[in-house]
């Protein structure tokens, strides 16, 4: 009854997009802190799924462990909350058992590039059909703000109180070099662009990697002296990036250490892993 009333009220104010139809409303409110970028990524993702027109029951969303990995708990799809680092490996199993499923993997930068780095590069190499969305906040959010492989050199974290001494990974460069056929980057600040990029990623057949720069104001922000969540978005996501179109007219020096956004690689001719498997079976059976 209360739910019905809420829906009616929403119809009155004419909500332009009905997120509710994709959410497990009983699981809300979510655990994310005020100002966390993860919720914006989820919203963009739901809009992208809607745009592509995926049937809810055809989707399997897998995750590891982390704040970002809580995403599957809130969505009304088939969901698999796995182990820290193992989401892509679990998802690979799902895809092989049910190749017709649309696989989405929502994981943190730590999950994808540290503890699960091995699975990440090998899934890219195989070009297996799934969309991996990395919520890249340059920190281990869930465990209290420790250094991650995407923490910039010199940045503070609870385990690098004098500044991170290790160089950071560029997630997109790793994905490209490892063989993913679709690689893109966007941010939580550029919500409309993010929606477009995610739509293209889901539509692409093969391994699609989308790195989304978003913010953890609670740990990364506080330790690195950002005044607020919006200050972080302004500095890191807006000023710290350039669009692909802008980048075309800029020299490497002018781009500097800013990240380039947009679709960075799309290879439509690469053979997808499940197809390669079918091809092999067909070939071997003909020989017999």
């Amino acid at each position: 009854m209360a739910e019905g009333a809420a829906v009616k009220k929403k119809q009155k104010v004419n909500v332009p997009f009905d997120y509710d139809k994709y959410l497990r409303k009983g699981k809300l409110p979510h655990i994310w802190c005020p100002g966390c970028g993860h919720g914006i990524v989820l919203k963009s993702l739901l809009r992208a799924i809607d745009k592509v027109g995926l049937d809810k029951s055809s989707i399997c969303m897998a995750s590891g462990i982390g704040c970002s990995s809580r995403t599957p708990g809130y969505v009304d799809f088939n969901t698999l909350h796995s182990l820290h680092g193992r989401a892509i490996a679990f998802a690979t199993g799902v895809k092989l058992a049910k190749p017709e499923m649309n696989i989405l993997v929502t994981i943190g930068d730590g999950d994808a590039l540290a503890i699960g780095g091995n699975h990440f590069i090998h899934a890219c190499r195989r070009n297996i059909d799934m969309t991996v969305i990395i919520y890249s906040n340059a920190i281990y959010g869930m465990t209290g703000g420790q250094v991650s492989p995407t923490t910039p050199e010199g940045a503070m974290s609870t385990t690098s109180p004098h500044g991170n001494m290790e160089p950071a990974f560029d997630a997109c460069a790793v994905a490209e070099a490892s063989g993913a056929s679709f690689v893109a980057r966007s941010t939580a600040y550029h919500m409309q662009e993010l929606e477009k990029v995610l739509t293209a990623a889901i539509e692409h057949k093969g391994m699609s990697v989308v790195e989304v720069l978003d913010s953890c104001p609670v740990y990364y922000g506080r330790q690195n002296k950002y005044k607020s969540a919006s200050h972080m978005m302004e500095e890191i996501e807006k000023k710290g990036t350039v669009s692909g179109a802008q980048a075309k007219n800029l020299s490497e020096e002018e781009i500097g250490d800013r990240f380039v956004r947009g679709i960075l690689k799309q290879d439509k001719d690469g053979v997808e892993y499940c197809d390669a498997y079918d091809n092999l079976i067909a070939k071997v059976q003909v020989k017999k």
């Binding site: 182990l83 869930m142 492989p149 609870t158 385990t159």
Partner: protein
């Protein structure tokens, strides 16, 4: 006993106390990866590191598998190594745990006990370290913050004892102990340094005058000899624990044995339980003692190696024993502690009746009333002579 050395009283959480002990020990290398609820041990240690309070190296690696692998590498090169973990982190170290013990590397690892997934849970039970009970690591379990602190310091000596040389886990209960502030006495830095001493490794890599190979292949003609040596070292570890606990008591005034006995001397019935749940159980025991019930408790501190003969001796006059496990072996025969206690008592001429209860999984509260319930069951068996259910879950 000589006059105990000066110590200062403070209030700290279990994790802060262990981090403090690590700072005082100042290991040469600490490879680490964060996981709840052990994270703050490493976090606080990294602050000591950043503040220049320790001289060793801290490396924040990319997983626990890497943390234990780097620990093995550093220990093989002759370093004193510490790391800390919980639950999935320990599970991910599994493969490497056996390398550490098989290579006889005295790595010291505080464990903050937490339930294993699935389902995902971050709260206390012992399924993590119990799963590693046969990995060749010595295991100590602490009831209080003070004991977690003291065990961390003693662990260094036990592991490095020249006729032992085995890695050691020093366990405390996740959140219940690790995140609760208790009053404890901290030993002076210098006295900790004197107690743990300098680590002089027996064989190391990088010793060009005496080059060695570690982890080499040993096929059927040698493998068993290696394992027998390791097994014998584990047997000797029990004496090392007794010896070093005695020295610790002599120096610092706090006495610990292989296990704690509480009101056991004249007890008709007894509970055996590890770690923090013993505190709750003692409250129930005091209450029922006041009503004239002869109840006691035995809390193993050393679980690997298993002091079976000493435990059998301590329980030989008890008529009924209930073993409380905070982990299930999933074998239709109770938890791991149940199996070990029951087996230790088997050779007694008049062995007590023993039953097991699984409690407190995934952080489920174990309250004084639960302990009272167990004591009620013990008395029922004492009166009827019959165990109606050998094993079952309680606190459910």
């Amino acid at each position: 006993m000589s006059a105990a050395l000066k110590q200062k009283k403070v209030g700290l959480t279990g994790n802060s106390a262990v981090a403090y002990a690590m700072m005082q020990i100042d290991p040469d290398v600490v490879p680490a990866y964060p996981i709840t609820p052990s994270t703050t041990i490493i976090e606080e240690f990294s602050s000591y590191h950043a503040d220049g309070k320790v001289t060793g190296e801290l490396i924040t690696v990319e997983s626990e598998h890497s943390a234990m692998s780097a620990s093995v590498g550093a220990a093989a090169a002759g370093a004193r190594v510490m790391t800390a973990t919980s639950a999935q982190g320990l599970a991910l170290m599994w493969e490497v745990l056996y390398i550490a013990s098989g290579m006889r590397l005295p790595i010291i690892m505080p464990i903050v006990n937490r339930a294993l997934s699935a389902p995902i849970n971050i709260h206390c039970d012992h399924s993590d370290s119990m799963g590693a009970r046969d990995s060749g690591w010595i295991q100590l379990y602490a009831e209080t913050v003070q004991e977690a602190y003291d065990n961390t310091i003693m662990a260094v000596r036990i592991a490095e004892e020249s006729d032992v040389l085995l890695p050691i886990m020093s366990c405390q209960d996740g959140f219940i102990t690790s995140h609760a502030i208790e009053c404890l006495e901290l030993i002076e830095d210098k006295d900790v340094k004197d107690f743990v001493g300098e680590y002089v490794p027996k064989d190391t890599l990088l010793d060009v005058d005496n080059p060695v190979t570690m982890g080499a292949m040993a096929l059927p003609e040698f493998y068993m000899e290696f394992k027998r040596d390791q097994s014998n070292a584990m047997t000797r570890a029990k004496d090392a624990v007794s010896k070093i606990s005695a020295e610790f008591a002599e120096t610092f005034g706090r006495e610990y044995g292989l296990f704690e006995s509480y009101k056991l001397d004249d007890a008709d019935v007894a509970i055996v339980v590890l770690s923090s749940a013993a505190g709750t159980t003692k409250v129930a025991i005091d209450k029922l003692r006041a009503e004239g019930k002869k109840v006691g408790l035995l809390r193993p501190r050393l679980y690997r190696p298993w002091p079976h003969a000493e435990i059998a001796e301590a329980l030989k006059n008890v008529k009924v024993v209930c073993v409380l496990d905070r982990a299930d072996s999933m074998n239709d025969f109770g938890g791991p502690l149940f199996g070990d206690v029951r087996s230790a008592l088997f050779d007694l001429d008049t062995a007590p009746k023993v039953f097991g209860r699984i409690f407190g999984l995934g952080g489920r509260d174990y309250k004084v009333v639960d302990a009272e319930g167990v004591i009620g069951e013990l008395y029922k068996v004492l009166e009827t002579g019959k165990i109606e259910q050998l094993n079952r879950y309680i606190t459910i």
